[in-house]
């Protein structure tokens, strides 16, 4: 009996997760179809005696850095209370044109 059959029977017994270690699960709104690599049986990741949990696969980032990124999207606060918002490339081009026009006029 090959591994796939064994997993299938274990699934029927409600024990498949105990025998294989596919940590990838479809999140809400995601396509639940497994990819080719997800279909392959992976060796179980056992939590070892002096080991560490297997990384969850997220990007590791200090919390402050995270909030700094959000702040940039909302605008960067200055000490005098001004908040400077980043502008798009189109807005920047428009601004340059306006500056050039005002320079010519002067």
């Amino acid at each position: 009996m090959n591994a796939k059959w064994k997993i299938a029977i274990l699934a029927m017994l409600g024990l498949s997760t105990a025998a294989c270690c596919s940590t990838k699960r479809a999140k809400k709104g995601e396509d639940p179809k497994p990819t080719e690599t997800e279909n392959q049986m992976d060796d179980p990741r056992i939590m070892l005696m002096y080991g560490v949990p297997f990384p969850d696969g997220e990007v590791v980032r200090p919390v402050e850095e995270e909030s700094a990124i959000e702040a940039k999207e909302e605008g960067v606060p200055f000490e005098d209370g001004r908040v400077v918002h980043p502008i798009s490339e189109e807005e920047a081009a428009k601004l340059i044109e306006e500056l050039k026009a005002s320079e010519k006029a002067e």
Binding site: L10, M49, V60
Partner: protein, 360 residues
């Protein structure tokens, strides 16, 4: 309803029979998935339950980073997909090494994930952030119980507070995988529920419990060993807590647990030492888990080629027929247990502790 201790039941028995075949496949493939680097034996604590192999001289110098990287570059990386291999820095206490960040950066540069186990004593917010910047992906912190219990075991009056603070710093890092590890001793048994509530109130989401096995310093200290009825209570506690789903709790990989298989851990029991797990010890010895006794060493990086050792030795790890002796000789669950964890075998190969027999 309580699990009937040792009794497996038809469903689990059938499941284990099928899993046995899958386990054989894992043994046959013996793909390296976890590599411990015992980078130091130095430690800033002297814990009562330390299972360190006392045959190893603690005055042993730290292994130079360059020696470990040489093994990675010449032996490991050409033969594995680094993205699939987790490197665990272990000790001693890893934070005593000043070049841990450099080690982390080098390992990350080669495409490996890495993690570490710490007692938290030396973990400041700044140190943690520099480790995260060096690619730290996962960390475990020892947290053995309320202040009196933790400090007793760790033999240091500030160890509880330092561990608690370290966990708080870790929780500040988004995406950093972590868990806390509690060594269950008789002292915590009456307060397990309060301890659980404390951990939840601290915002901890992942928790692992292990119990002491008679090796290293713990061998002679009776205050650390659970009686069979306490062990059974512990299993029931873990089972109940997992059903509540308020905190992700599991029992460590230690031994086969009869009727508690899949009830207290996510997976069926299997000891992966030497099968998917290797370690490079501080003196260059090549073995399975770092918790396995010194005389199961399979080679040494200063004398042998690591990959050759990994591929061609490790026979006592991959073929465990030799464990079928003494109390295991006629055991009806040997086919599922295969003699228990390799770390539970003493220098002569005798089983020091049987988890299954504790479930009377």
């Amino acid at each position: 309803m309580q699990v009937k201790g040792k009794r497996l039941g038809i469903r689990k028995h059938l499941g284990l029979k099928l899993f046995k075949g899958l386990y054989d496949g894992v043994v046959e493939r013996h793909e390296l998935r976890t590599l411990f680097w015992e980078c130091t034996l130095r430690c800033n604590l002297k814990c009562r339950h330390c299972g360190s192999d006392c045959r190893v001289d603690v005055s042993e110098q730290d292994m130079p980073l360059a020696d470990f990287l040489k093994v990675l570059d010449e032996e490991v990386t050409p033969n594995v997909d680094p993205a699939k291999v987790l490197i665990i820095f272990s000790g001693g206490e890893v934070l005593v090494r000043k070049d841990l960040e450099e080690a982390g950066r080098e390992v990350t540069k080669r495409g490996y994930m890495w993690g570490m186990v710490t007692n938290g004593m030396g973990l400041t917010r700044e140190r943690l952030r520099s480790l995260v910047a060096a690619g730290l992906r996962t960390v475990s912190v020892s947290f053995d119980g309320f202040e009196d219990i933790h400090n007793y075991i760790r033999q240091n009056p500030s160890s509880f507070e330092r561990a608690r603070q370290a966990i708080a710093y870790i929780r500040e890092i988004k995406g950093l995988t972590y868990d806390v590890i509690t060594c269950a001793t008789p002292a915590i048994m009456d307060r397990l529920d309060q301890w659980k509530e404390f951990l939840i109130s601290e915002g901890i989401t992942r928790w692992r419990i292990f119990s002491v096995f008679p090796a290293g310093r713990a061998k002679r200290d009776e205050t650390l060993h659970l009686a069979p009825e306490q062990f059974r209570t512990l299993m029931e506690f873990i089972r109940k807590t997992r059903k509540e789903s308020r905190i992700n709790l599991s029992y460590a990989c230690e031994g086969f647990l009869g009727g508690y298989e899949t009830e207290v851990r996510d997976n069926f029991y299997m000891c992966t030492a030497g099968i998917t797990v290797a370690s490079i010890r501080v003196n260059g010895d090549i073995s399975g888990c770092t918790s396995v006794r010194g005389n199961y060493t399979q080679g040494n990086i200063y004398k042998d080629r690591f990959w050759d050792v990994w591929q061609n030795r490790f026979k006592p790890f991959r073929d465990r027929e030799w464990t079928k002796c003494d109390e295991c000789a006629d055991c009806k669950v040997w086919e599922f247990c295969r003699g228990g964890g390799m770390h539970l075998r003493d220098d002569k190969g005798k089983l020091m502790y049987c988890h299954y027999n504790m479930l009377k």
